[in-house]
Symmetry: C2
Subunit: 279 residues, 2 copies
Protein backbone atom coordinates (compact mmCIF):
# COMPACT_ATOMS: atom_id res chain seq x y z
CA UNK A 1 0.00 0.00 0.00
CA UNK A 2 1.48 3.33 -0.99
CA UNK A 3 1.79 5.96 1.72
CA UNK A 4 3.01 9.37 0.55
CA UNK A 5 3.38 9.65 -3.21
CA UNK A 6 5.13 12.66 -4.76
CA UNK A 7 4.13 13.68 -8.29
CA UNK A 8 5.06 16.30 -10.89
CA UNK A 9 2.36 18.85 -10.15
CA UNK A 10 0.54 21.10 -9.59
CA UNK A 11 -2.79 19.41 -8.86
CA UNK A 12 -4.97 19.19 -11.94
CA UNK A 13 -2.30 18.00 -14.36
CA UNK A 14 -2.24 14.67 -16.17
CA UNK A 15 0.51 13.46 -13.83
CA UNK A 16 -1.80 14.00 -10.86
CA UNK A 17 -4.39 11.92 -12.72
CA UNK A 18 -1.79 9.13 -13.11
CA UNK A 19 -0.80 9.39 -9.42
CA UNK A 20 -4.48 9.25 -8.35
CA UNK A 21 -5.00 6.14 -10.43
CA UNK A 22 -1.86 4.52 -9.04
CA UNK A 23 -2.52 5.41 -5.39
CA UNK A 24 -6.21 6.26 -4.97
CA UNK A 25 -5.89 6.11 -1.17
CA UNK A 26 -2.36 7.47 -0.86
CA UNK A 27 -1.40 10.95 0.26
CA UNK A 28 -0.37 12.81 -2.88
CA UNK A 29 2.26 15.54 -2.63
CA UNK A 30 2.85 17.79 -5.64
CA UNK A 31 6.37 18.95 -6.57
CA UNK A 32 7.10 21.72 -9.09
CA UNK A 33 9.71 19.88 -11.21
CA UNK A 34 10.58 16.31 -12.16
CA UNK A 35 13.90 16.66 -10.30
CA UNK A 36 12.03 17.78 -7.18
CA UNK A 37 9.85 14.64 -7.31
CA UNK A 38 12.99 12.48 -7.27
CA UNK A 39 14.54 14.61 -4.52
CA UNK A 40 11.41 14.12 -2.36
CA UNK A 41 11.75 10.32 -2.65
CA UNK A 42 15.50 10.39 -1.99
CA UNK A 43 14.93 12.58 1.10
CA UNK A 44 12.21 10.26 2.41
CA UNK A 45 9.45 12.90 2.15
CA UNK A 46 7.61 10.39 -0.05
CA UNK A 47 7.96 6.64 -0.59
CA UNK A 48 7.36 6.89 -4.33
CA UNK A 49 7.27 9.49 -7.09
CA UNK A 50 5.18 9.60 -10.28
CA UNK A 51 6.62 11.30 -13.38
CA UNK A 52 5.81 11.20 -17.12
CA UNK A 53 8.40 9.46 -19.30
CA UNK A 54 6.93 9.27 -22.82
CA UNK A 55 4.01 10.62 -24.85
CA UNK A 56 2.79 8.94 -28.03
CA UNK A 57 2.78 12.25 -29.93
CA UNK A 58 5.60 14.22 -28.32
CA UNK A 59 8.10 11.42 -27.67
CA UNK A 60 10.23 11.10 -24.57
CA UNK A 61 10.12 13.43 -21.59
CA UNK A 62 13.78 14.37 -21.59
CA UNK A 63 13.82 15.69 -18.01
CA UNK A 64 12.85 12.21 -16.78
CA UNK A 65 15.36 10.39 -19.00
CA UNK A 66 18.14 12.74 -17.93
CA UNK A 67 17.25 12.26 -14.27
CA UNK A 68 17.47 8.48 -14.67
CA UNK A 69 20.73 8.71 -16.65
CA UNK A 70 22.63 11.33 -14.70
CA UNK A 71 21.34 11.97 -11.23
CA UNK A 72 19.04 9.63 -9.49
CA UNK A 73 19.79 6.41 -7.66
CA UNK A 74 16.09 5.61 -7.72
CA UNK A 75 14.59 2.72 -9.64
CA UNK A 76 11.56 2.37 -11.87
CA UNK A 77 9.12 0.24 -9.87
CA UNK A 78 6.04 0.51 -12.08
CA UNK A 79 4.81 1.89 -15.36
CA UNK A 80 1.34 3.29 -16.06
CA UNK A 81 -0.21 4.32 -19.37
CA UNK A 82 -2.95 6.96 -19.42
CA UNK A 83 -4.95 8.37 -22.34
CA UNK A 84 -4.55 12.15 -22.58
CA UNK A 85 -8.01 13.72 -22.90
CA UNK A 86 -7.79 17.48 -23.35
CA UNK A 87 -10.90 19.43 -22.26
CA UNK A 88 -11.98 23.00 -22.95
CA UNK A 89 -12.59 24.61 -19.57
CA UNK A 90 -14.60 27.80 -19.05
CA UNK A 91 -16.15 29.81 -16.22
CA UNK A 92 -19.61 28.46 -15.30
CA UNK A 93 -22.21 29.96 -17.63
CA UNK A 94 -19.74 30.92 -20.38
CA UNK A 95 -20.81 29.88 -23.88
CA UNK A 96 -18.74 28.88 -26.86
CA UNK A 97 -19.48 32.17 -28.65
CA UNK A 98 -18.07 34.15 -25.69
CA UNK A 99 -14.54 32.73 -25.94
CA UNK A 100 -11.86 35.20 -27.09
CA UNK A 101 -8.71 33.93 -25.33
CA UNK A 102 -7.56 30.34 -24.79
CA UNK A 103 -4.81 29.59 -22.26
CA UNK A 104 -2.67 26.47 -22.00
CA UNK A 105 0.84 25.06 -22.08
CA UNK A 106 2.19 25.54 -25.63
CA UNK A 107 2.35 21.74 -26.06
CA UNK A 108 -1.36 21.32 -25.24
CA UNK A 109 -2.25 24.23 -27.56
CA UNK A 110 -0.23 22.48 -30.28
CA UNK A 111 -2.05 19.18 -29.72
CA UNK A 112 -5.43 20.92 -30.22
CA UNK A 113 -4.35 23.20 -33.10
CA UNK A 114 -6.85 21.93 -35.73
CA UNK A 115 -9.74 22.01 -33.26
CA UNK A 116 -8.93 25.57 -32.21
CA UNK A 117 -8.51 26.80 -35.81
CA UNK A 118 -11.88 25.37 -36.84
CA UNK A 119 -13.98 26.19 -33.78
CA UNK A 120 -12.30 29.36 -32.50
CA UNK A 121 -10.71 31.11 -35.48
CA UNK A 122 -11.12 34.49 -33.73
CA UNK A 123 -9.67 33.48 -30.36
CA UNK A 124 -6.04 34.11 -29.44
CA UNK A 125 -3.88 31.39 -27.93
CA UNK A 126 -2.03 32.40 -24.75
CA UNK A 127 0.80 30.42 -23.18
CA UNK A 128 0.68 29.17 -19.57
CA UNK A 129 3.31 27.31 -17.55
CA UNK A 130 1.07 24.19 -17.26
CA UNK A 131 -2.47 23.12 -18.12
CA UNK A 132 -3.32 23.59 -14.43
CA UNK A 133 -1.89 27.13 -14.41
CA UNK A 134 -4.09 27.86 -17.44
CA UNK A 135 -7.19 26.74 -15.55
CA UNK A 136 -6.19 28.90 -12.59
CA UNK A 137 -5.79 31.88 -14.92
CA UNK A 138 -9.35 31.42 -16.21
CA UNK A 139 -10.68 31.14 -12.65
CA UNK A 140 -8.99 34.44 -11.72
CA UNK A 141 -10.17 36.36 -14.77
CA UNK A 142 -13.33 38.46 -14.40
CA UNK A 143 -14.63 37.93 -17.91
CA UNK A 144 -16.43 34.95 -19.42
CA UNK A 145 -14.26 35.31 -22.53
CA UNK A 146 -11.31 33.20 -21.30
CA UNK A 147 -10.99 29.43 -21.68
CA UNK A 148 -8.27 26.91 -20.80
CA UNK A 149 -7.20 23.58 -22.23
CA UNK A 150 -6.67 21.12 -19.39
CA UNK A 151 -7.92 18.07 -17.51
CA UNK A 152 -11.46 17.46 -16.27
CA UNK A 153 -9.89 17.31 -12.81
CA UNK A 154 -8.56 20.88 -13.20
CA UNK A 155 -12.16 21.98 -13.84
CA UNK A 156 -13.14 20.53 -10.43
CA UNK A 157 -10.19 22.13 -8.63
CA UNK A 158 -10.66 25.59 -10.14
CA UNK A 159 -14.49 25.67 -10.23
CA UNK A 160 -14.75 25.63 -14.03
CA UNK A 161 -17.12 23.89 -16.43
CA UNK A 162 -16.08 21.42 -19.12
CA UNK A 163 -17.41 22.89 -22.38
CA UNK A 164 -15.93 20.17 -24.62
CA UNK A 165 -14.07 16.92 -23.91
CA UNK A 166 -11.47 15.09 -26.02
CA UNK A 167 -10.56 18.11 -28.17
CA UNK A 168 -7.04 16.83 -29.08
CA UNK A 169 -6.52 16.50 -32.85
CA UNK A 170 -5.09 12.97 -32.64
CA UNK A 171 -7.22 10.59 -30.57
CA UNK A 172 -4.25 8.22 -30.05
CA UNK A 173 -2.70 10.52 -27.46
CA UNK A 174 -1.42 8.49 -24.51
CA UNK A 175 1.30 9.14 -21.94
CA UNK A 176 3.43 6.58 -20.15
CA UNK A 177 4.30 7.38 -16.54
CA UNK A 178 6.79 5.67 -14.24
CA UNK A 179 6.74 5.25 -10.47
CA UNK A 180 10.20 5.93 -8.99
CA UNK A 181 11.17 4.25 -5.70
CA UNK A 182 14.19 3.01 -3.73
CA UNK A 183 13.86 -0.48 -5.22
CA UNK A 184 12.48 -1.91 -8.43
CA UNK A 185 9.86 -4.70 -8.58
CA UNK A 186 10.31 -8.47 -8.04
CA UNK A 187 9.63 -10.72 -11.07
CA UNK A 188 5.96 -11.26 -12.00
CA UNK A 189 6.37 -13.31 -15.19
CA UNK A 190 5.44 -10.40 -17.50
CA UNK A 191 8.01 -7.70 -16.91
CA UNK A 192 10.02 -5.00 -18.60
CA UNK A 193 13.54 -3.80 -17.85
CA UNK A 194 14.90 -0.34 -18.69
CA UNK A 195 18.60 0.47 -18.92
CA UNK A 196 21.08 2.82 -20.59
CA UNK A 197 24.64 2.46 -21.84
CA UNK A 198 27.26 4.38 -23.78
CA UNK A 199 30.59 3.81 -25.49
CA UNK A 200 33.74 5.83 -25.12
CA UNK A 201 34.29 5.96 -28.90
CA UNK A 202 32.03 5.73 -31.96
CA UNK A 203 33.65 2.81 -33.78
CA UNK A 204 31.14 1.48 -36.32
CA UNK A 205 29.26 -1.56 -35.08
CA UNK A 206 29.47 -1.05 -31.30
CA UNK A 207 25.73 -0.50 -30.93
CA UNK A 208 25.12 -3.40 -33.26
CA UNK A 209 27.29 -5.70 -31.16
CA UNK A 210 25.50 -4.53 -28.02
CA UNK A 211 22.06 -5.26 -29.44
CA UNK A 212 23.37 -8.64 -30.56
CA UNK A 213 23.67 -9.72 -26.91
CA UNK A 214 19.90 -9.45 -26.67
CA UNK A 215 19.00 -10.61 -30.18
CA UNK A 216 20.93 -13.89 -29.99
CA UNK A 217 19.19 -14.75 -26.71
CA UNK A 218 15.74 -14.08 -28.17
CA UNK A 219 15.16 -11.09 -25.88
CA UNK A 220 12.70 -8.63 -27.41
CA UNK A 221 13.49 -4.92 -27.32
CA UNK A 222 10.41 -2.81 -26.63
CA UNK A 223 12.27 0.44 -27.34
CA UNK A 224 15.63 1.80 -28.44
CA UNK A 225 16.43 5.45 -28.12
CA UNK A 226 19.50 7.63 -28.23
CA UNK A 227 19.94 10.80 -26.19
CA UNK A 228 22.72 13.29 -26.80
CA UNK A 229 25.17 13.30 -23.91
CA UNK A 230 25.09 16.73 -22.33
CA UNK A 231 28.70 17.28 -23.40
CA UNK A 232 28.26 17.24 -27.14
CA UNK A 233 25.61 16.81 -29.84
CA UNK A 234 27.43 13.97 -31.64
CA UNK A 235 27.83 11.65 -28.65
CA UNK A 236 24.93 9.51 -27.56
CA UNK A 237 23.68 7.47 -24.66
CA UNK A 238 21.48 4.57 -25.71
CA UNK A 239 18.34 3.73 -23.77
CA UNK A 240 16.69 0.35 -24.09
CA UNK A 241 13.46 -1.16 -22.79
CA UNK A 242 13.37 -4.94 -23.07
CA UNK A 243 10.81 -7.61 -22.28
CA UNK A 244 11.72 -9.64 -19.22
CA UNK A 245 13.19 -9.16 -15.73
CA UNK A 246 16.80 -8.36 -14.94
CA UNK A 247 16.88 -11.51 -12.78
CA UNK A 248 15.95 -13.80 -15.70
CA UNK A 249 19.16 -15.79 -16.35
CA UNK A 250 19.33 -14.95 -20.08
CA UNK A 251 18.84 -11.24 -19.46
CA UNK A 252 21.32 -11.24 -16.60
CA UNK A 253 23.92 -12.81 -18.89
CA UNK A 254 23.19 -10.41 -21.79
CA UNK A 255 23.58 -7.41 -19.49
CA UNK A 256 26.81 -8.83 -18.02
CA UNK A 257 28.24 -9.20 -21.54
CA UNK A 258 27.07 -5.72 -22.55
CA UNK A 259 28.69 -4.28 -19.42
CA UNK A 260 32.04 -5.63 -20.60
CA UNK A 261 31.73 -3.72 -23.91
CA UNK A 262 30.20 -0.43 -22.77
CA UNK A 263 31.99 2.41 -21.03
CA UNK A 264 28.93 3.04 -18.83
CA UNK A 265 25.86 0.93 -18.10
CA UNK A 266 23.03 1.68 -15.69
CA UNK A 267 19.92 -0.40 -14.99
CA UNK A 268 16.89 1.79 -14.27
CA UNK A 269 14.88 -1.19 -13.00
CA UNK A 270 12.58 -4.11 -13.79
CA UNK A 271 8.84 -3.71 -13.33
CA UNK A 272 5.54 -5.34 -14.36
CA UNK A 273 4.59 -4.63 -17.97
CA UNK A 274 1.51 -2.39 -18.06
CA UNK A 275 -1.55 -4.04 -19.54
CA UNK A 276 -4.40 -1.73 -20.51
CA UNK A 277 -7.06 -3.78 -18.68
CA UNK A 278 -5.14 -3.20 -15.44
CA UNK A 279 -6.47 0.32 -15.35
CA UNK B 1 22.55 30.94 -54.05
CA UNK B 2 19.41 30.79 -51.98
CA UNK B 3 16.49 32.99 -53.02
CA UNK B 4 13.45 32.90 -50.72
CA UNK B 5 14.04 30.90 -47.57
CA UNK B 6 11.12 30.06 -45.26
CA UNK B 7 11.86 29.51 -41.55
CA UNK B 8 10.03 28.60 -38.38
CA UNK B 9 9.41 32.10 -37.03
CA UNK B 10 8.63 34.68 -35.87
CA UNK B 11 11.67 36.91 -36.42
CA UNK B 12 13.95 36.98 -33.41
CA UNK B 13 13.94 33.23 -32.68
CA UNK B 14 16.94 30.92 -32.86
CA UNK B 15 15.64 29.46 -36.12
CA UNK B 16 15.79 32.93 -37.70
CA UNK B 17 19.40 33.12 -36.50
CA UNK B 18 20.12 29.80 -38.24
CA UNK B 19 18.35 30.96 -41.43
CA UNK B 20 20.32 34.24 -41.41
CA UNK B 21 23.56 32.33 -41.08
CA UNK B 22 22.58 29.95 -43.87
CA UNK B 23 21.33 32.60 -46.27
CA UNK B 24 22.71 36.00 -45.24
CA UNK B 25 21.62 37.54 -48.55
CA UNK B 26 18.43 35.55 -49.06
CA UNK B 27 14.89 36.83 -48.54
CA UNK B 28 13.73 35.25 -45.28
CA UNK B 29 10.02 34.50 -44.85
CA UNK B 30 8.76 33.48 -41.40
CA UNK B 31 6.08 30.81 -41.01
CA UNK B 32 4.19 30.17 -37.74
CA UNK B 33 4.64 26.37 -37.58
CA UNK B 34 7.13 23.77 -38.78
CA UNK B 35 4.43 22.26 -41.03
CA UNK B 36 3.84 25.70 -42.58
CA UNK B 37 7.54 26.01 -43.44
CA UNK B 38 7.36 22.72 -45.35
CA UNK B 39 4.08 23.77 -47.00
CA UNK B 40 5.70 27.01 -48.20
CA UNK B 41 8.49 25.05 -49.92
CA UNK B 42 6.04 22.52 -51.41
CA UNK B 43 3.88 25.38 -52.75
CA UNK B 44 6.91 27.14 -54.26
CA UNK B 45 6.55 30.22 -52.02
CA UNK B 46 10.14 29.52 -50.95
CA UNK B 47 12.94 27.42 -52.43
CA UNK B 48 14.11 26.15 -49.06
CA UNK B 49 12.91 25.96 -45.46
CA UNK B 50 14.91 26.03 -42.20
CA UNK B 51 13.59 24.12 -39.18
CA UNK B 52 15.16 22.86 -35.92
CA UNK B 53 15.57 19.07 -35.65
CA UNK B 54 17.50 18.39 -32.44
CA UNK B 55 18.73 20.19 -29.32
CA UNK B 56 21.58 18.86 -27.18
CA UNK B 57 19.56 19.29 -23.98
CA UNK B 58 15.97 18.74 -25.09
CA UNK B 59 16.49 16.00 -27.68
CA UNK B 60 14.65 15.77 -30.96
CA UNK B 61 12.14 18.29 -32.25
CA UNK B 62 9.28 15.87 -32.76
CA UNK B 63 7.28 18.14 -35.10
CA UNK B 64 10.18 18.05 -37.57
CA UNK B 65 10.72 14.28 -37.29
CA UNK B 66 7.00 13.65 -37.76
CA UNK B 67 6.90 15.93 -40.78
CA UNK B 68 9.79 14.01 -42.38
CA UNK B 69 8.24 10.63 -41.49
CA UNK B 70 4.60 11.20 -42.32
CA UNK B 71 3.93 14.16 -44.53
CA UNK B 72 6.60 15.81 -46.51
CA UNK B 73 8.13 14.82 -49.81
CA UNK B 74 10.91 17.28 -49.18
CA UNK B 75 14.53 16.29 -48.61
CA UNK B 76 17.16 17.37 -46.13
CA UNK B 77 19.66 19.35 -48.17
CA UNK B 78 21.86 20.74 -45.41
CA UNK B 79 22.40 20.63 -41.67
CA UNK B 80 23.53 23.53 -39.48
CA UNK B 81 24.56 23.50 -35.82
CA UNK B 82 24.13 26.68 -33.75
CA UNK B 83 25.01 27.36 -30.10
CA UNK B 84 21.95 28.49 -28.17
CA UNK B 85 22.83 31.65 -26.21
CA UNK B 86 19.95 32.82 -24.05
CA UNK B 87 19.95 36.52 -23.17
CA UNK B 88 18.04 38.48 -20.57
CA UNK B 89 16.24 41.31 -22.40
CA UNK B 90 14.83 44.40 -20.74
CA UNK B 91 13.47 47.83 -21.68
CA UNK B 92 16.26 50.37 -22.18
CA UNK B 93 17.26 51.82 -18.82
CA UNK B 94 15.80 49.00 -16.73
CA UNK B 95 18.14 47.67 -14.05
CA UNK B 96 18.51 44.18 -12.62
CA UNK B 97 16.89 45.21 -9.34
CA UNK B 98 13.76 46.42 -11.18
CA UNK B 99 12.86 43.00 -12.62
CA UNK B 100 9.72 41.41 -11.19
CA UNK B 101 8.37 39.33 -14.09
CA UNK B 102 10.32 37.22 -16.61
CA UNK B 103 8.61 36.05 -19.81
CA UNK B 104 9.69 33.24 -22.13
CA UNK B 105 8.75 29.93 -23.69
CA UNK B 106 8.52 27.35 -20.87
CA UNK B 107 11.47 25.45 -22.42
CA UNK B 108 13.75 28.53 -22.32
CA UNK B 109 12.65 29.28 -18.74
CA UNK B 110 13.53 25.67 -17.87
CA UNK B 111 16.98 25.97 -19.47
CA UNK B 112 17.75 29.03 -17.30
CA UNK B 113 16.14 27.73 -14.09
CA UNK B 114 19.25 27.85 -11.84
CA UNK B 115 20.23 31.31 -13.08
CA UNK B 116 16.75 32.67 -12.42
CA UNK B 117 16.53 31.10 -8.96
CA UNK B 118 19.87 32.59 -7.90
CA UNK B 119 19.65 36.03 -9.49
CA UNK B 120 15.90 36.68 -9.43
CA UNK B 121 14.42 34.69 -6.54
CA UNK B 122 11.59 37.26 -6.20
CA UNK B 123 10.62 37.41 -9.88
CA UNK B 124 7.78 35.34 -11.30
CA UNK B 125 8.22 33.30 -14.47
CA UNK B 126 5.51 33.84 -17.09
CA UNK B 127 4.94 31.63 -20.13
CA UNK B 128 5.00 32.97 -23.70
CA UNK B 129 4.37 31.18 -27.00
CA UNK B 130 7.98 31.75 -28.15
CA UNK B 131 11.12 33.60 -27.04
CA UNK B 132 10.27 36.28 -29.63
CA UNK B 133 6.71 36.64 -28.29
CA UNK B 134 8.24 37.15 -24.82
CA UNK B 135 10.40 40.00 -26.13
CA UNK B 136 7.35 41.56 -27.77
CA UNK B 137 5.47 41.35 -24.48
CA UNK B 138 8.25 43.27 -22.71
CA UNK B 139 8.26 45.91 -25.44
CA UNK B 140 4.51 46.43 -25.03
CA UNK B 141 4.55 46.62 -21.23
CA UNK B 142 4.63 50.09 -19.66
CA UNK B 143 6.77 49.19 -16.67
CA UNK B 144 10.53 48.58 -16.41
CA UNK B 145 9.78 45.52 -14.25
CA UNK B 146 9.38 43.00 -17.09
CA UNK B 147 12.19 41.01 -18.72
CA UNK B 148 12.30 38.31 -21.40
CA UNK B 149 14.62 35.42 -22.15
CA UNK B 150 15.44 35.39 -25.85
CA UNK B 151 18.01 36.02 -28.58
CA UNK B 152 20.22 39.07 -28.94
CA UNK B 153 18.49 39.52 -32.32
CA UNK B 154 15.08 39.77 -30.59
CA UNK B 155 16.50 42.69 -28.56
CA UNK B 156 17.27 44.51 -31.85
CA UNK B 157 13.84 43.79 -33.32
CA UNK B 158 11.85 44.85 -30.25
CA UNK B 159 14.04 47.75 -29.13
CA UNK B 160 15.24 46.08 -25.93
CA UNK B 161 18.62 46.00 -24.15
CA UNK B 162 20.62 42.86 -23.42
CA UNK B 163 21.13 42.90 -19.62
CA UNK B 164 22.96 39.53 -19.53
CA UNK B 165 24.18 37.13 -22.18
CA UNK B 166 24.64 33.33 -22.03
CA UNK B 167 22.36 32.82 -19.00
CA UNK B 168 21.53 29.16 -19.80
CA UNK B 169 22.46 26.75 -16.99
CA UNK B 170 24.29 24.31 -19.28
CA UNK B 171 26.84 25.96 -21.61
CA UNK B 172 26.75 22.95 -23.99
CA UNK B 173 23.40 24.00 -25.43
CA UNK B 174 23.43 23.63 -29.21
CA UNK B 175 20.65 23.09 -31.73
CA UNK B 176 20.89 21.28 -35.03
CA UNK B 177 18.80 22.72 -37.87
CA UNK B 178 18.04 21.24 -41.28
CA UNK B 179 17.38 22.96 -44.59
CA UNK B 180 14.44 21.31 -46.40
CA UNK B 181 14.29 21.48 -50.20
CA UNK B 182 12.93 19.63 -53.25
CA UNK B 183 16.20 17.70 -53.63
CA UNK B 184 18.98 16.60 -51.34
CA UNK B 185 22.69 17.36 -51.88
CA UNK B 186 25.15 15.72 -54.30
CA UNK B 187 28.09 13.83 -52.71
CA UNK B 188 30.90 15.98 -51.26
CA UNK B 189 33.09 13.27 -49.72
CA UNK B 190 32.03 14.02 -46.12
CA UNK B 191 28.29 13.46 -45.97
CA UNK B 192 25.50 12.20 -43.75
CA UNK B 193 22.34 10.36 -44.73
CA UNK B 194 19.12 10.33 -42.70
CA UNK B 195 16.40 7.72 -43.11
CA UNK B 196 13.59 5.99 -41.21
CA UNK B 197 12.13 2.49 -41.29
CA UNK B 198 9.65 0.32 -39.42
CA UNK B 199 8.59 -3.30 -39.16
CA UNK B 200 5.07 -4.70 -39.31
CA UNK B 201 5.67 -6.91 -36.25
CA UNK B 202 7.97 -6.82 -33.24
CA UNK B 203 9.77 -10.14 -33.62
CA UNK B 204 12.95 -10.03 -31.51
CA UNK B 205 16.03 -9.23 -33.53
CA UNK B 206 14.51 -7.31 -36.47
CA UNK B 207 16.19 -4.04 -35.52
CA UNK B 208 19.40 -5.94 -34.84
CA UNK B 209 19.32 -7.52 -38.30
CA UNK B 210 18.63 -4.11 -39.83
CA UNK B 211 21.59 -2.46 -38.09
CA UNK B 212 23.71 -5.42 -39.19
CA UNK B 213 23.38 -4.31 -42.81
CA UNK B 214 25.31 -1.17 -41.87
CA UNK B 215 27.69 -2.70 -39.30
CA UNK B 216 28.97 -5.44 -41.58
CA UNK B 217 29.78 -2.85 -44.26
CA UNK B 218 31.69 -0.65 -41.80
CA UNK B 219 29.13 2.17 -42.09
CA UNK B 220 29.08 4.31 -38.96
CA UNK B 221 25.76 5.30 -37.42
CA UNK B 222 25.77 8.86 -36.13
CA UNK B 223 22.38 8.44 -34.44
CA UNK B 224 19.67 5.88 -33.77
CA UNK B 225 16.32 6.92 -32.43
CA UNK B 226 12.89 5.41 -32.08
CA UNK B 227 9.65 7.40 -32.33
CA UNK B 228 6.28 5.97 -31.37
CA UNK B 229 4.06 5.54 -34.40
CA UNK B 230 1.05 7.79 -34.00
CA UNK B 231 -1.18 4.73 -33.81
CA UNK B 232 0.09 3.19 -30.60
CA UNK B 233 2.70 3.70 -27.88
CA UNK B 234 4.27 0.24 -28.28
CA UNK B 235 5.04 0.47 -32.00
CA UNK B 236 8.10 2.34 -33.18
CA UNK B 237 9.60 3.91 -36.24
CA UNK B 238 13.40 3.87 -36.20
CA UNK B 239 15.35 6.89 -37.40
CA UNK B 240 18.99 6.61 -38.36
CA UNK B 241 21.69 9.10 -39.33
CA UNK B 242 24.71 7.46 -40.92
CA UNK B 243 28.04 8.71 -42.20
CA UNK B 244 28.23 8.68 -45.99
CA UNK B 245 26.08 9.46 -49.02
CA UNK B 246 23.13 7.41 -50.24
CA UNK B 247 24.91 7.09 -53.61
CA UNK B 248 28.00 5.43 -52.07
CA UNK B 249 27.82 1.82 -53.36
CA UNK B 250 28.09 0.21 -49.89
CA UNK B 251 25.37 2.44 -48.46
CA UNK B 252 23.15 1.93 -51.48
CA UNK B 253 23.43 -1.83 -51.03
CA UNK B 254 22.81 -1.70 -47.26
CA UNK B 255 19.67 0.37 -47.79
CA UNK B 256 18.47 -2.00 -50.54
CA UNK B 257 18.85 -4.97 -48.19
CA UNK B 258 17.15 -3.12 -45.35
CA UNK B 259 14.27 -2.22 -47.65
CA UNK B 260 13.65 -5.93 -48.23
CA UNK B 261 13.25 -6.53 -44.47
CA UNK B 262 11.34 -3.43 -43.39
CA UNK B 263 7.65 -2.75 -43.93
CA UNK B 264 8.37 0.92 -44.62
CA UNK B 265 11.60 2.77 -45.45
CA UNK B 266 12.02 6.42 -46.35
CA UNK B 267 15.23 8.31 -47.13
CA UNK B 268 15.14 11.88 -45.85
CA UNK B 269 18.25 12.81 -47.82
CA UNK B 270 22.04 12.98 -47.99
CA UNK B 271 23.81 16.23 -47.18
CA UNK B 272 27.26 17.59 -46.24
CA UNK B 273 28.24 16.85 -42.65
CA UNK B 274 28.33 20.08 -40.67
CA UNK B 275 31.78 21.00 -39.42
CA UNK B 276 31.94 23.67 -36.73
CA UNK B 277 34.59 25.77 -38.50
CA UNK B 278 32.17 26.14 -41.44
CA UNK B 279 30.18 28.64 -39.46
Amino acid sequence: MPGRVAYFGPAGTFTEEAALRYAPHGELVPRPTIAAVAAAVVAGEAQEGVVPIENSLEGSVTDTLDLLIHQSNLFIQRELVLPIVHCLLVRPGAREEDIRVIYSHPQALGQCRDYLEHRFPQASAMAAMSTAAAAEQVQKSDHPTAAAIGTARAAEIYGLSVLARGIQDNPANVTRFVVLAHTDHPPTGDDKTSLCFSFSNDTPGLLYAALGEFARRGINLAKVESRPTKQSLGQYIFLIDLHGHREDPEIKEAIRRLQAQASTLKIFGSYPRYVASNG
